[in-house]
């Protein structure tokens, strides 16, 4: 049996659980909608602009996340063959990390990660 078949099973089961819970609540719960219930719950503050623009810092965080994520994956690959490669591999990864540390220092200096 393929080891990937259980993944499909789990996804199906999760869908069934989600559907069943929603259906249960739908049939068991009361249903009396009022105008106030349909509004978003914002503590009574009039919802002027319901979808505001968010800080660009979130974006910068996630772009840096991607780039460091790739680095992590490369490191995993290296860690797997570390024993075979020996010092040669350590030297290679040292250069790799050195270049990335330059980027990291630049990020710190540019204050991209400072959330006032």
């Amino acid at each position: 049996m393929s080891p990937y078949l259980p993944i499909l099973l789990i996804i199906l089961i999760a869908l069934v659980i989600g559907g069943a819970m929603s259906a249960l609540a739908h049939f068991c719960g009361p249903r009396n909608q009022t105008a106030a219930k349909k509004e978003p719950f914002e503590c009574g503050v009039p919802n002027s602009s319901r979808r505001e623009k968010m800080s660009v810092k979130f974006y910068l965080t996630s772009i840096l996340f991607i780039l460091f994520d790739i680095e992590t994956v490369f490191l995993y690959l290296w860690a797997r063959v570390f024993k075979t490669l020996g010092w040669f591999g350590v030297a290679e990864i040292f250069v790799f990390l050195l270049i990335l540390v330059v980027g990291y220092v630049y990020v710190l200096r540019s204050k991209a990660l400072d959330w006032d």
Binding site: K53, Y59, L60, L77, V81, V95, I99
Partner: protein, 172 residues
């Protein structure tokens, strides 16, 4: 048998999703569909025996790059200008031309493709291909590997430079 069923199942899902991604109206829906698309593509990779690439696809593509798309949609106003502009007739002609061109190209490709003989097709599913990939990457592809880090460095620097606020740019 199992492989064929899984492949055609995944392939039909992927086809539908790919078409949907480029045709839906809302950017959020498109990103969500693209996530599913890339996830199922990871399934195809796994089917081909590329387990490590499959998991990389999930980690980086589905788990990171598309999060970035999602964030951009959240940061910008999500209901931004969605109306399509451009001449309808011109678009239709261009569309047909591109489609026909692609069909022609694909037929040419399959015609000219050297038929794989039974000896060529190895298709052995390597048991631990993480190890093999790592060995090959760190022994034969040293320079591309180091250059990749340079590419990531450039990515970091330019993303920060571009997304600075205009007012900050003037003062620098």
């Amino acid at each position: 048998m199992g492989e064929a069923i899984s492949f055609y199942f995944l392939a039909s899902i992927l086809t539908v999703l790919s078409i949907a991604v480029v045709t839906v109206q809302k950017p959020v829906v498109a990103v969500a569909l693209l996530v599913f698309n890339l996830f199922f593509l990871a399934g195809v990779y796994a089917l081909l025996g590329a387990h490590f690439i499959a998991v990389i696809q999930v980690i980086i593509y589905a788990g990171a790059i598309l999060v970035l798309f999602m964030f951009v949609i959240m940061i910008l106003n999500p209901d931004m200008d969605l109306k399509e502009t451009g001449d309808k007739g011109k678009k239709f002609i261009l569309f047909s031309a591109v489609s026909v061109g692609f069909l022609f190209f694909s037929f040419k490709m399959f015609e000219q493709m050297a038929p794989l003989t039974k000896e060529d097709i190895v298709s052995e599913i390597l048991e631990d291909n993480t190890y093999e990939i790592g060995l090959q990457l760190f022994e034969d592809y040293i320079w591309p590997f180091e250059l990749a880090s340079l590419l990531i460095l450039l990515g970091i620097v330019s993303a920060i430079l571009i997304s600075r606020k205009p007012s900050q740019n003037k003062s620098v």
